[in-house]
Amino acid sequence: MSLENIAPSSPVIHIRGLKKSFGNNAVLRNFDMDLNPGENVVVLGKSGSGKSVLIKCIIGLMQPDEGDLLVFGDNVPTLSHDDLDKMRVKVGFLFQSNALYDSMTVRENLEFPLRRHWIRTGKENVNDLVMEALTNVGLADTVDMMPGELSGGMRKRIALARTLILKPKIILYDEPTTGLDPITAKEISNLMLDIQKKYNTSSIIISHDMNCVRITANRIVMLIDGYCYANGTYDELKRSDDKRIRQFFD
């Protein structure tokens, strides 16, 4: 089922009964969640609870042991390598460590995802796409700089620009504000909101930063003991009497 065939209200990501273990350590046990079009969902949980494993399964970097994981109707674990590549054009991934290529300039970093899609984008449009993505994150003047010359916040923005360059429909954020000062973290959180509005993207955000969660989340999914422990808006969960939920908000 392609993106065009999906009804507007159908979830763009549909997960049921997802299981993933590393040896005897069961990280995900029957995890369920949906991501609806245009929605920002924050997955909240303790360190080591399997949040990053979840989004790596969604993008196909890890193979789940069991369960359905549908992205735009395609079951990711069963996709061929070519189909996985086609799916990844529609799904952007922002790495916790930014994962910018050290040996390349900012321009080359942004051009890299386009290499496999020259036909779709047209080689002559590459410069325009690079500049558009950089302008959207407010760093058009860094185009010829090396990643090592940039601050942590700037690197995060460049990584976000690289994620945006293929204009994905879904963005997976892996702890986008970790390691940033509170002011820069707030700027990044606001930028994520701007991107949601401008590109009409749906996002799954992995975060421990409750300010980022408050700013960006339309809905929160709490991943505790490997399954979806609670699901609701920031205000709903904040009002909860459950001790395990409250410890994130207190």
Binding site: L100, D102, R115
Partner: protein, 255 residues
């Protein structure tokens, strides 16, 4: 005893074997990364050119100076150019060049891919639709396979010039006579096995460096370990290939 030295050695050998099989499976299938291959060839060749050249020159000079007294004692001074050239071309230059490359290129590849692995750059490449194995591993292994034989040929030439200077330190021999004496004894049977084994040296250095880097774990500590173990393993394998090449040449009477 699953943590024993022998167990670790055998499992790592099996892992490198599987990694090499993947290289052959993916290396000859499109899409080909020619741009990155050329970049790696330039980088690998350029990075070691000076060191390999100087080492070749010194080896040629030193071997000639040290062989001179023995040859003189047997009254065979006139054989010095041919004896030195055969030992340089057949054995000394290919092995020394490979060892330098194992140290410089092997550790460089191990550290580069290792740091890319721990900073999720390899995952980022995969997510952006580029096969990281093709882009990073296949290009580097082909580059070492192509460049090390070229470096050996260059080092042979410079080493022979060093030998010419070494001969002239004790007696006067014209360049023309020296060249005649060298090529009187030096045949294709000396040159070709040396070039062929250099391809295998290049393959071993490339594949081991890439394997160690590509499978790095444990953060920055793991990067250092990957670089270090790439050099140790590649050096050992270079000697192993050299031993096998000598045996094969002997069996095939290429001596």
């Amino acid at each position: 005893m699953k943590s024993g030295f022998l167990y670790n050695l055998l499992t790592e050998t099996a892992d490198i074997y599987r990694f090499a099989l993947r290289f052959f499976k993916e290396g000859f299938r499109p899409r080909y990364e020619f741009g990155e291959l050329i970049r790696q060839c330039y980088y690998i060749g350029n990075k070691t050119l000076g060191l390999v050249g100087i080492t070749g020159f010194i080896m040629g000079l030193v071997i000639t100076i040290q062989s001179h007294p023995s040859m003189e004692a047997f009254g065979a001074e006139s054989w010095l150019p041919s004896v030195v050239s055969v030992s340089l071309v057949r054995e000394i230059v290919p092995v020394i060049t490979a060892l330098i490359c194992a140290g410089k290129i092997g550790s460089g590849i191990g550290a580069e891919l290792g740091s890319m692995k721990v900073t999720e750059q390899i995952d980022a490449m995969e997510v952006s639709g580029t096969n990281p194995f093709k882009y990073l591993v296949v290009t580097r292994v082909f580059a070492t396979m192509l460049m090390i034989p070229l470096l050996v040929i260059l080092s042979d030439t410079i080493g022979l010039y060093g030998a010419y200077l070494g001969v002239n330190m004790k007696q006067v021999v014209s360049f023309h006579l020296f060249t005649n004496q060298v090529f009187e004894k030096l045949t294709y049977a000396d040159v070709m096995p040396s070039i062929i084994k250099s391809f295998f040296f290049g393959f071993a250095i490339g594949i081991i460096g890439c394997f160690k880097g590509y499978n790095t774990t444990n953060g920055t500590q793991g990067v250092g370990r990957a670089a270090n173990s790439a050099v140790v393993a590649a050096t050992f394998v270079v000697f192993l290939i050299d031993l096998m090449a000598a045996q094969i040449a002997d069996i095939l009477h290429i001596t």
